[in-house]
């Protein structure tokens, strides 16, 4: 069961990497978060831990419903061009993403030499998600992609922490959730303001702002 979910997480990340338009990207993120939610729920169920239940619920409420909803609302309100603006086209992105997967697998294998196979797999996928988030931020022009890239990285970190070390301390986890939520709110407002000021949210065109 866990294996299947892990595979789905991987697939959802690939989906996001090849996404060309904003709604597709948000959908991919929602899907990925849902998979994480399922993963956490299963872990909570098998280990009978109350805190994991609460974290799972929070994951669902924040990352599966509230944040994607808020992002949808933002792109609807700014009525911007729905295209993400790709520096690297989907095909090439996919190839890069596969390379990253391989790289993170080597990395994980080298880190956890005596671990079980499943542990190495989880670590590899988590590393890959972090790299993919970074890749999204780097190779997409729209400011929205930067927000989602950050969220994806956070997902990867969450996964790494919860599977490898059995989760961060409960309160830290809660704090991170609220942090992420607040940062998305703030960045959403920023995107809105940028759009109002420059009538676009193309970060590439902001380079004239340097000192």
């Amino acid at each position: 069961m866990q294996g299947i979910i892990l595979f789905t997480v991987l697939a959802s990340t690939y989906l996001m990497v090849i996404a060309k338009r904003m709604p597709a990207l948000i959908r991919g993120f929602r899907f990925q978060s849902f998979c994480l939610f399922a993963l956490t729920l299963i872990m909570a169920f098998s280990e009978h831990r109350l805190d994991l239940y609460i974290i799972a619920v929070l994951l669902f409420v924040l990352k599966v419903s509230l944040i994607p909803h808020f992002l949808y609302r933002t792109i609807r309100r700014i009525r911007a061009n729905e295209n993400l603006g790709l520096f690297i086209n989907p095909q090439l992105s996919l190839i890069w993403a596969m390379a990253f997967t391989y790289l993170s697998w080597i990395f994980a294998a080298r880190l956890a030499v005596f671990g079980q196979a499943i542990l190495i797999g989880v670590m590899a996928i988590a590393f890959f998600i972090i790299l993919a988030g970074m890749f999204l931020m780097m190779s997409r022009m729209s400011a929205l992609a930067q927000i989602i890239g950050l969220l994806v990285m956070e997902n990867g970190l969450f996964m790494l922490a919860s599977t490898v070390s059995g989760g961060m301390p409960f309160f830290v986890e809660i704090a991170i959730f609220f942090d992420v939520f607040m940062s998305v709110l703030i960045m959403g407002i920023f995107v809105f303001r940028i759009n109002k000021l420059f009538t676009h949210i193309d970060v590439n065109k902001l380079s004239r702002l340097k000192g």
């Binding site: 993170s104 931020m137 780097m138 930067q146 702002l209």
Partner: protein, 611 residues
Amino acid sequence: MLDLLPKHIFLSDPLSLFFLFVIFIVSLPSAIYSFGYLKGEYPLKKIILSWFLLAIFILSMAAVVTAGNVLVFLVAWEMMSLASYFLVVFDTTHERSIKAGTIYVVMTQIGAAFLIAAFMIMYSYARSFDLFALKNACLAMPAQTKNIIFVSLLIGFGTKAGIVPLHIWLPYAHPQAPSHISSIMSGVMIKTAIYGIIRFVMFILGVSAAWWGVLVLILAVISCLVGVIYALMEHDIKKLLAYHSVENIGIILLGVGLAMFFTSQGLPYLAVFSLMAGLYHLVNHAIFKGLLFLCAGSVYKATGTRDIEKLGGLIKTMPYTAAYFLLGAMAISALPPLNGFVSEWLTLQAFFLGALNVIGGTKLFLGFCAVMLALTSGLAAACFVKAFGITFLAGPRSHYAKEAKEVSLSMKAGMFFLSLLTIVFGLAATMIIRYLTRAAGSAMDIDISHMQFSLNNITLNPQAGKSIYLSPPLLALVLLVLGITGLVIFCAWRRKRSVRHNTWDCGYYRLDARNEYTATAFSKPFRIAFSFFLLPYRKTQKIRESFYHVRSFTYETHTIQVFKKYLYDPVLVLVFRSAKSMRRLQPGSIHLYLMYIFITIILLIVFMRWF
């Protein structure tokens, strides 16, 4: 093992106490002076701010000279630099202040970097930041390491002290601060660097090679000459004083360098003697340079300009300030019986004694240094004839000088206190050197109890049995008697019928300020004599109506700042050029910045095996 709770946070040996005393005697009158100086010059909020900064500045200097732990020392050192930086840029309205502050902060941070490097090397041997632990560790240090530490310390402290060629910030920063701050900076702050050299090179590191002392002596001689020659060319009164600080730091370092040299030669008596001479000049310079800066501040406050070409005749409107300035000028020119004379005389004696006691080429070298010191004091006297004569004598050269009024009581009080000290430190020399030898002995860990500095009450005799005597009170008496005799003779024989003319009128009339002697003209012989170093050039421009009638004639003369042009400018150009090419890495695109991070991560992952 890191020594988190050091045993000696603060020291109180004679050397530290001596420097505390120096800080105190300059800071107190400067603070009193600032009551009157700041009033009306700045709004109330800025005055409060200046007091706050002044308090931090003085406290951090006190912490520097008493720190018993290198970390405490460094923190205090940086606090001192920052506080003085903010005081330099205190006149934020002037573009010049910002520039001066930038030069100052850059130079001082470069110096601090060298200091930190030296301390880190010491720490790697001692495994402790405690001064005494460092001292013990330095006993077992290889000579090569010691040399490296010495050079770093010399550069680090030399930047603060203003040794040529690291003096570049001094003539910018010192004049730009408010005058009571200039007096503290020039009188005391640069002395903390001398403290650092004595404490860290002589006390902790221990002089191990003769060339250390020789290097310091050479730098000191260069500083003396360069400082005084530039001062001769300068017409900004505070800048002139700042250049004299370079010169006097050179004289102090002559004493310190001699002490280092004698230590390495195994002549402890002479070492103590020359360090004592250096320390004596240090406290003297603190007194008279503090006094002169306060006087310059009074002139600035009264007239609103620092350019002496625009001043003149102030002795009539500001008699007190003129008298104090004259005392300070006499002291810095080493005229007996004031304090500057005693210490320069002692330094010269140290050179002669050294020349008697060493053999070979060193004899010649020490003699040469003594000659250079004599030349320096001669030039300094010339410079202060110019500074005093042009500023205070003759008639006013501009409306600035015409409208000058004597300054307020608190300012006069500050100046009075210091000018009193110039006399006291000259007359009470015998008593003072007794204390100074103790400080010098403790600074070098030399037991001085068996040494005789042969001090009876009235005669000061550094070289027992060789019949060299100096008695400042006796000299003062002789001068006083001679002066009174001269005055009596003058009064008795002068022409009874007096004729009144304007000053420097030579019996003509209708001579105005434009006919007066100028500072540029006064310094011309020196400009010619030192033209190989100053590289003067002039611009003349005549506008003629016809061949016979010149409507206007302008004449400008400038000197080339050798060190700035041939040492600092190329470095600056290089720095800016490389900074410009570095800027290409930073085009302002967020994606590119993200890519830098991303590539770094990927590389780290790929090459993890090698880390």
